[in-house]
Amino acid sequence: MEIKREDILHLAELSNFSLTDEEVDKLGDDLDGIIKYISQLNQLDTDNIEPTYQVFEMENVWRDDEILPQDADREMLLNLTKEEREHQIKVPKVL
């Protein structure tokens, strides 16, 4: 498939990027080349093959439902943000 400018803009929106025109052009070329490369998987016969999403051999790791001591407390986490007010993280307007 040929990737179009509008596809790049759509993917940028899904990715929360605001791209310059130059970036849109460059990413268009790059993604086109990458998609061509990964499309060679079409040549592989995968009929009747189950997908694998993870290679960890165990499932359902259980533990008691109790609160364990945490490495970081609220104060430490709030210290990491740029703007804080009344023990909340401050961000620009939402609406």
């Binding site: 790049i8 899904l14 990027f17 993604l31 080349g33 499309s39 694998t52 290679v55 051999e57 986490l77």
Partner: protein, 462 residues
């Protein structure tokens, strides 16, 4: 490795390491030097040694930490602008275990931002230079860690390997680099790239050092639900004494072609002869599905990257863009200014292969290819004990040679990614050098949980 004792002080070891780090500053290895805290810890260890108190197995050993491991010393940035200013309040489990054995972190090392890359050129802080040729790349993504060990600044360094990020820089710089079995070492407190393939591992100078590091850091962690019970220290198994036991070593015929540099093929042949002379059996194997591993990898990994990196939005930590009058703008501008071009490519490819209409053709197809790759490894290990292959198709390439061509850069990983998809361990071992003096690396691959025998067997190749 050099460990502090009654004769050599930890302070001496740490001072030497810091001096060397400064001496090699032009290689751009470190993003942070932990001078004050390292010397303080060294003096504490020395005073315990002097009093005859018990000290850890890594007493006073200076090490370097890849900058995607969280710890309170210095900023943890993953060499990405978007994590600039992030002082972690938590410590990665692997780091805590090393520190508990009295190892001393002297600095944080450079990487491709978020470990996306095979050359360390995608770092916000600029590329790290190869230990053997300053005009060439260190490899990546753990380039800084590999060079720190190769230049003998530290005794060992940590790394992460999602598709070759330990093995390839290890081979480019002539040191040992281990990607363990998936789930062997806790990933808690390490910046996530692709959760189903990410592995914690090490750069070291000898198989013995690697074994010690593995025995210290492996094991289950309640903070990482994908960690296996500690098989590394507990598997009784049959005692493997390689000199007495003859092993079967598999050679993958599909990798022996013109796309691999002649000098690497020669190095492989000479190691095969060495193994034969020691009585080991060589088994030729065909693994045709591995041809598709790179394509499957560059679908699965970007999909996981797009999900894992959605958390970086400028709200809770790290860099926040100034240009934002609205929350949506804050997300968009922070991410656009904070990510490197390769981060953006991978996030967008990930969102592409996961989006409706393309999911079945790409992501599902790659997940099925992954099953075939796993089956192919299982089949191979029914015929041999270990595989011996090149790590990458060529020795270290020149700075700037591939950085603007993403597919050419991805092809660097063509022989390393299948291990991560299958979850099997691989050890990069030094295997001589080219006529121009560039290190050549080979990788020894084993079935899941064979890490210990893999390390032991690597002595046969020395």
């Amino acid at each position: 490795m050099k460990i502090a004792n009654q004769k050599v002080t930890a302070e001496r070891l740490v001072r030497d390491a810091l001096e060397k780090a400064k001496h090699f500053a032009d290689y751009n290895i470190f993003t942070f030097l932990n001078e004050e805290a390292a010397l303080k810890k060294a003096r504490e260890i020395d005073s315990r040694i002097k009093k005859g108190e018990k000290v850890g197995r890594l007493a006073g050993v200076p090490y370097a930490l890849k900058d995607n491991f969280l710890s309170p010393e210095g900023e943890t940035t993953a060499s990405a602008h978007i994590l600039g200013g992030f002082n972690s309040p938590i410590t990665a489990t692997a780091v805590a275990k090393l520190e508990a054995e009295d190892a001393i972190m002297i600095g944080r090392t450079n990487l491709d931002a978020f470990a996306h890359g095979s050359s360390t050129e995608n770092s916000y802080y600029g590329p790290t230079l190869n230990a053997h040729d300053k005009k060439r790349v260190a490899g990546g993504s753990s380039g800084g860690s590999a060079v720190a060990v190769a230049l003998d600044i530290v005794e060992f360094a940590t790394g992460t390997d999602t598709g070759g990020s330990i093995r390839q820089p290890a081979s480019f710089n002539g040191v040992y680099g281990l990607k363990p079995t998936y789930g062997c070492i806790s990933r808690y407190g390490v910046v996530a790239m692709a959760s189903s393939t990410d592995c914690i591992g090490f750069f070291a100078k000898t198989p013995e050092d690697m074994d010690l590091l593995m025995s210290i850091t492996s094991g289950q962690d309640t903070k990482d639900m994908t960690t296996l019970p500690d098989y590394y220290n507990n598997d009784s198994g049959e005692p493997t004494n390689p000199s007495k036991r003859h092993s079967r070593i598999g050679i993958i015929k599909d990798f022996d072609n013109d796309s691999v540099a002649p000098e690497i093929r020669e190095a492989l042949k000479s190691k095969i002869e060495l193994l034969k002379s020691k009585g080991h059996e060589i088994v030729e194997l065909e693994m045709p599905a591995l041809k598709y591993a790179l394509a499957a990898y560059y679908i699965i990994v970007p999909a996981e990257v797009a999900s894992n990196l959605s958390r970086y939005d400028g709200v809770r930590y790290g860099f926040r863009s100034e240009i934002s009058s609205h929350l949506d703008e804050l997300y968009d501008h922070t991410r656009s200014e904070g990510f490197m071009p390769e981060n953006k490519r991978r996030i967008m490819i990930g969102n592409f292969v996961l989006s409706s209409g393309f999911y079945d053709a790409y992501f599902l197809k790659a997940a099925k290819a992954r099953t075939l790759i796993i089956q192919e490894y299982e089949k191979a290990f029914s015929k041999c004990d270990f595989l011996l292959t090149p790590v990458s198709p060529s020795p270290a390439f020149k700075l700037g040679e591939k950085v603007n061509d993403p597919v050419a850069m991805y092809l660097e990983d063509v022989m390393s990614v299948s291990l991560n998809l299958a979850g099997v361990p691989g050890l990069a071992i030094p295997a001589g050098e080219t006529k121009s003096g560039l290190p050549i690396g080979l990788q020894l691959v084993g079935p899941r949980r064979s890490d210990k025998t893999l390390i032991e067997f690597s002595r046969e190749l020395i």
